[in-house]
Amino acid sequence: MGPLIHLVRKELLLLRRDWHALLLLFLMPTVFILIMSLALRGLFASHGRVVITYALLDQDRSPASQLLAGHLAGQAEFQRIDLAGDEARLQAAVRADQAQFLVRIPAGFGAALLRPQPQAVELSGAPSVEPTLLKLFDASLREAAARVYLKASLGSLARSMGDPSAADALDLDAVNALVASRSLYMGEQRLPSSVQQNVPAWLIFAMFFIAIPLSNTWVQERSHGTYARMLSLGVPRWKLLLGKLLPYLGVNLAQAACMLAVGVYLVPRLGGDALDLGDAPAALALMVLAVSFAAVSWGLLIANVVRTSEQATIFTGVGNLLLGLLGGVMVPLFVMPGWLQAIGRLTPVAWGLEGFLDVFLRRGGLAQVAPRAALLLAFGVAALGLAHSFFKRRSRG
């Protein structure tokens, strides 16, 4: 073990003096986590407790229009914004994102409700509203209009039957009991927040980014002849690999601790939600170790495949971006087409991300994350074995 201690100590000393690498490894993912968690907060919030804002222009002021307005007001997720003015002014306000939607009930809506040519309620969405949200609000508005129409139709039918009060016996709210929906996230009625998704994603991305400084220092040491010198001193290749692997594993663990702390403490201070680490610390620790081992071994493999520092930077940089893209860091896997999802699920980044989400979102324990951790560890062992083989070949010219 003698040389190994000195190899590890030397590596930590060199890392401490390499501010660029430390900035890349710690500051970059912190900034990513903060920006992505806060920037996508609204988007993720729309998947959790939905708050959709709308302005209402009732030009009809009939019992039917008031009933429609009442149905919208009764939706917990909808928040009416009181804006004064005519239609043009309200449209300008919605265009300026003061509300997400404008609902205009035209004059004559109630009177023409049961006629062949009804007066349609108009819905306008703000420019920033995503198509899915427009569809959601449109469906809710149609449901509210359907209730108004149904009430009016039944009233008309009851009157023609000579019993006007019969329509009142119908409880339209009873349809609410026909469908019950819930999220399986944490067994509660809420969905994961932006921070729950973004912290593990960017943490894994940062952990794999360690391949850049690692492969660069390895290539430099090789080209400076220090490895040849150490081989001449009888230091075996596996110790040289281990001497690089162990300190960088330590750096990865420090990165993980730092990024998780950012999610738990810093993001909420800046207005985001706090990261919930789940309730299986052993499973979380296993995932951090497994991802770290895979990432460092991946870096060592690249370092021993490439010939120059420039190649190392390009291979690791582009390779990590591709892994991040395919593995669901930048774009969640579920929004990709099936064939791309299938490819993405073959990447160690996806195994790591799903493992973290198992702990954070699905409240998984050791048993749940073990298969993904095993895949990552197997990937790390294979990469390390290949790295040793390439190292041996390269040092023999």
Binding site: P3, R229, L233, S395
Partner: protein, 248 residues
Amino acid sequence: MIQAHNLSYQYASGGARALDALSLRVPQGSLYGLLGPNGSGKTTFLSLLAGVLPCPQGRLSVDGHDLGRAPAKAQAVSALVPQDLAFYPRLSVQENVDFFAGVMGYAGADARGRVDEALRLAALGHLRGQRAERCSGGLKRRLNIAIGLLNRPRLLLLDEPTVGIDPQSRRFILQSVQEIHAAGTTVVYTSHYMEEVQALCDTIGILDRGRLLAQGALKELLKAPRGGRKPKDLEGLFLELTHRALRD
């Protein structure tokens, strides 16, 4: 000290053999100058001697230890000072020497004694705290040599130790090599500077295309007529044997 018999080596990347049935003998206590044009096989031979490359064909031994069968024993008595500055620029002079002493397995007072001795021999004692990257070219070469002295080798392999340094530093390094040799260490010295080898070495070997073209004391080498005439100096002999055409 060194026995090479029918030694051949070919790199995995292909090309001609770097060493082609090379046989030579370096006696204990000699200061052996190994000359050859670029790509002649000098560095390959030193790498084989240092155990960095395996010995696939032929036999090679250092101090009686066969490098094919017991490389660790041969490595224990030798030290390679590579042509590259094989240390860490971001570490200080002291940290570099401490690190390599630790990697070699020295600890405590023994390590401190060896580090002090190596730094004294390389005249680097006053620069212990200086980052290696801030040292001049000559200081870097001396640090490279100091690291090679840590295991008090019986065989010191110096691969072009005076490349790219000022005359003062070169003079100091040549004096140091003479002192190390005078203390009983066998030295194999490769260089492209003929006057260095001429002044320093008691035995000279000229290598080209992996084969030994000539070997012996300078006087003997110059005495023997080549192509009907006697070369006037080592450079003349070298060019006579390896021809004047460019190699790179």
